[in-house]
Symmetry: C2
Subunit: 211 residues, 2 copies
């Protein structure tokens, strides 16, 4: 399924959305969907959908529509949701706590393997069957254990330091919740959840709703 041509970031951002809709359809026992119906469900034009899918060889036949289950499997395969990902959460305050539980609820693809914090009150606590470790132990832990995804839920002030430890410890990628742009090696996989940014965009739309 790999292509040598780089797939645009916007397409990659849309793939999970397609998958979400397909999971819903599959859950409802729907086996086949026309490109028109899919377009209506997902809110992208049929032409946009075709263009997106063409990056991966097209899928399904026009006119016939798409087979829901096989399209779902194709997209899961492209994203790489066919194996397990070991996750280390760094920063176990309210947000880290919530993200750990949230991630763990997502079928068996994502497994919280380790949780780290700086606060003596939290270190030693058992969360999701994992004992919260002192963040000082993070470098040594990463030397001994292969971690696929490091989650950064520490305050902004410590985020770069944690990012440096995670990249040195060769995690596969970083899911960053700190409200800042991390300085990472070129091409290092990162996904930023900038909550403030989203809230501010929403405020813009609230103020321009009548335009």
């Amino acid at each position: 399924m790999k292509k040598s041509v780089k797939v645009p970031a916007a397409v990659i951002r849309r793939l999970p959305h397609y998958l979400r809709i397909l999971e819903e359809l599959h859950g409802k026992g729907i086996e086949r969907i026309s490109s028109g119906e899919l377009s209506e469900r997902i809110g992208y034009t049929a032409s946009q959908i075709r263009q997106d899918f063409n990056h991966f060889g097209g899928f399904g036949q026009q006119g016939y529509g798409y087979n829901v289950e096989s399209l779902r499997e194709e997209i899961r395969g492209i994203l790489g949701l066919t194996r397990e990902y070991k996750i280390a959460v760094v920063g176990c305050g309210r947000l880290g706590h919530a993200i750990a539980y949230f991630t763990n609820s997502f079928e068996s693809t994502f497994v919280i393997t380790a949780i780290f914090d700086i606060s003596p009150e939290i270190i030693g606590e058992n969360i999701l069957g994992v004992e919260v470790q002192d963040v000082k132990a993070l470098p040594a832990y990463l030397k001994e254990n292969k971690i696929d995804i490091g989650v950064i839920t520490v305050p902004k002030e410590s985020a770069q330091e944690i990012a440096d430890i995670l990249t040195a410890g060769e995690v596969g990628g970083i899911w960053n919740f700190a409200p800042m742009d991390l300085d990472l090696p070129d091409g290092f996989p990162v996904y930023n959840v900038h909550l403030y940014d989203g809230l501010q965009s929403l405020v813009y739309y609230i103020n321009h709703a009548d335009e």
Copy 2:
């Protein structure tokens, strides 16, 4: 500052990012920044930045660079961060709890005015000086109180019902954390934080990091 031409969504998504960088520069006492330096800081090309700013009349002079404080104020004004926003959080589990504290920490622009939950164990609890109310009281509350932003942090199964109550209660916009596309009136301001989608995009990049 309002323009009759609609500003592309991608530009609106980038405005908070500009603001974040400008706040950092301002915090460091930097008064002026060239478009080249700004480009390096933010990771967009200078031409992209010019194009973005042209949607709002340009700002600053080329060659001279941008005045950090006035650019910051311009962007805050465009986004509408110059007044207070009253926020109601619906769903006070781990994520709702974390989002309430997070939002409240964001200067005085955002004020958590009400929190709702369905669980008798959480109703009555005091969070951020606000008593958690029974979600059944939400429609009546919205009739009596003007809410700018409704935050949806309930499980997916209840999210549409809450969205319907929030729109009927004339909130200004919805900040949605439920992993689904809400059915909302045309043009209704909404910002979706689809955590799963982001995590799945990250997984794609982890699997294609060498391309």
